[in-house]
């Protein structure tokens, strides 16, 4: 094991190479560009700087089907552009890793500042029904580790796996221990070996079936079952019990790093696999009177947690890319007092 000082974005790129990345396509965007920069001199990676993010996601779909483990990285605006083809990759069952280093939105927003406003877009951004696996690590070391998990989960589920980060963790420098993690091998035979037809239409085998509801129902059920099964292998979350507190604080990504400051006053739960949601949260939450979700958006994951728990969940919202400990502490106290 070697110790090394790395930036969050660099860690993703380095880990991707170790995990077997064969093809990368991307478009420059703050705060994700360092991933592209880190990969340009990698001899084992075929790299294309595309004309936009739509081209990037479609190029990695083609490359992945051609047999190369493939990845792209972007931020909110680019992630929005990719949504249609993320749906295509779910429909055609193509293993991909899509990294989204979040910044403040909507639109161009605050490009250099971190946010967590794309959380629901990961789950619902493309049209139709699909069941994405989404990881959201909160440190450089964890980004490194979860890049391997993202590639493995993509291969095992044959789906596009989202690796979420944010402008804070992405640009953070930390010393990490470089370790070897398990690597899933490619099982999907590459293009040029058969007569398969990969289509975005509802299909049965290689044949499009666009008017039979039974085929579609069966297909969606298949996607759901497959995704849940693979997700179970990556049941990543952190839980800091606090028997003296009646409140569970749920936070993830950059903001979860701050939550540790409140560990004496709250129990803390940090999901790393944010979708499909960690079922264990149900049991954990049962031990607390009050649940607060703290996130850098106007309230996204809070609704998902509420839906999971079937009970009222309170929101502490941090907007504008600034993480101010005093301000957050004041909000948390107010939330606890008023609920």
């Amino acid at each position: 094991m070697t110790k090394i000082l790395l930036q969050g974005n660099q860690a993703i790129a380095r880990a991707a190479v170790k995990a077997g990345l064969g093809f990368y396509a991307g478009y420059p965007i703050t705060p994700a560009s360092e991933i592209l920069h880190e990969l340009v001199s990698e001899k084992s990676v075929k790299l294309m700087q595309m004309e936009d993010e739509i081209a990037s996601i479609n190029a990695i779909i083609g490359a992945s089907l051609a047999g190369a483990k493939s990845m792209t990285a972007t931020s909110g605006p680019g992630f929005s552009l990719m949504q249609e083809s993320i749906g295509l990759a779910h429909m055609m069952e193509v293993p991909l890793v899509v990294v989204n280093v979040q910044r403040v939105g909507p639109s161009t927003g605050m490009p250099t500042l971190p946010a967590q406003g794309d959380v629901l877009q990961c789950k619902y951004g493309s049209h139709g029904d699909y069941f994405p696996i989404v990881f959201y690590p909160n440190s450089v070391d964890e980004l490194y580790q979860y890049t391997f998990h993202a590639f493995n989960a993509a291969e095992e589920s044959r789906s596009p796996v989202i690796l979420l980060s944010d402008g804070y963790v992405g640009h953070l420098y930390e010393t990490i221990q470089i370790q070897d993690y398990r690597i899933s091998k490619r099982t999907l035979p590459p293009l040029g070996t058969s007569n398969r037809h990969f289509t975005g239409l509802t299909h049965e085998g290689s044949i499009p079936a666009t008017s039979d509801p039974e085929v579609h129902k069966k297909f969606i059920k298949h996607l759901e079952t497959k995704q849940k099964k693979v997700a179970k292998k990556y049941n990543g979350y952190e839980y800091r019990e606090n028997a003296s507190s009646d409140t569970l604080l749920i936070a993830y990504g950059a903001l979860s790093r701050v939550s540790y400051h409140f560990k004496d006053d709250f129990a803390i739960c940090r999901p790393i696999r944010i979708f499909p949601m960690i079922e264990d949260i149900k049991e954990i939450a049962g031990q607390y009177k009050r649940i607060i979700v703290m996130e850098m958006n106007a309230g996204q994951y809070v609704n998902e947690v509420e839906r999971l728990l079937h009970r009222k969940v309170h929101l502490v919202s941090v907007l504008g890319g600034k993480i101010d400990l005093q301000e957050i502490w004041t909000k948390l106290k107010r939330s606890r007092r008023e609920t």
Binding site: K46, M48, N58, A63, G192
Partner: protein, 256 residues
């Protein structure tokens, strides 16, 4: 005429000719009677047969629209991608595995409208892929709206007074980056086959624009009685010019 060899596979009698490149159990195609897309499939099959392309070295990619269904009829690995993105998908395939012949068959709306930007950049990069553009000058699948190659003045569902805009100059785009460009029509069958065969052999990006009729959602609105009349109009309107570096609007030929 030589006796046509056939082989029985289940309930399907497969014809052992160039049609062997197609999934014959999926025939007839779902396209309208009189559609030109089937002619393009046959042309591509014949070109592939000439060059001995096989399931082991060839991949077909399509976008969306009537022509987007083309890839799925080929008896090889094929991709039916989203609207306008056949080119970046094909570029990804070619870059990941340069040994594969990557062929795109898609429509003019798909390749030049929604996906037009990708053509600009793929030709700039000169990626070694072959693009066969079924240019019927109409959005046929959605009912007959004006497309990027609709002639000025032409009446469509969305231009009832006649199209006010000029069609896109594909030749200029391809020429700007010294890529292979050919224009042909489904009427000029042998010429079209030559254009496609040469394009498949071309090192670098190649683009074959095949003028094709859509009687259902275009010709009808423009006063044509049937597909035959539309094909005859190609015969009358287009002349082969093999000695120029720029094709006039009524000429067909190869520029490389």
């Amino acid at each position: 005429m030589d006796k046509i060899e056939t082989v029985q596979e289940g309930n399907v009698t497969k014809v052992l000719t160039h049609l062997n490149y197609l999934k014959q159990e999926r025939l007839p195609t779902q396209w309208c009677p009189g559609c030109g897309n089937g002619i393009v499939l046959k042309l591509v099959c014949q070109a592939m047969e000439k060059l001995d392309f096989s399931q082991k070295n060839t991949v077909m990619v399509s976008g969306i629209g009537c022509s987007g269904r083309s890839a799925g009829y080929f008896d090889l690995d094929s991709i039916h991608s989203v609207h306008g993105r056949a080119i970046p998908v094909a570029e990804g395939i070619k870059n990941a595995n340069p040994a594969l012949n990557v062929i795109i068959i898609s429509g003019d709306g798909d390749l030049l409208g929604i996906g037009g930007n990708h053509l600009l950049h793929a030709s700039r990069r000169n990626t070694n892929i072959s693009i066969v553009c079924i240019a019927n000058s109409i959005y046929g699948m959605t009912g007959g709206q004006t497309s990027p190659t609709t002639e000025q003045g032409s009446k469509t569902l969305t231009t009832p007074q006649g199209n006010a805009d000029t069609p896109i100059d594909v030749q200029a785009i391809l020429k700007a980056h010294n890529s292979y460009y050919a224009r042909t029509t489904v009427f000029h069958f042998n010429h079209a086959e030559k254009c496609i065969t040469e394009s498949l052999q071309h090192e670098g990006l190649s683009f074959v624009e095949i003028k094709t009729q859509c009687i259902t959602n275009d010709g009808r609105r423009r006063g044509f009685k049937n597909a035959y009349e539309m094909m005859m109009s190609y015969k009358e309107n287009y002349k082969i010019n093999s000695k120029t570096d720029t094709l006039e609007h009524n000429e067909i030929g190869i520029i490389k």
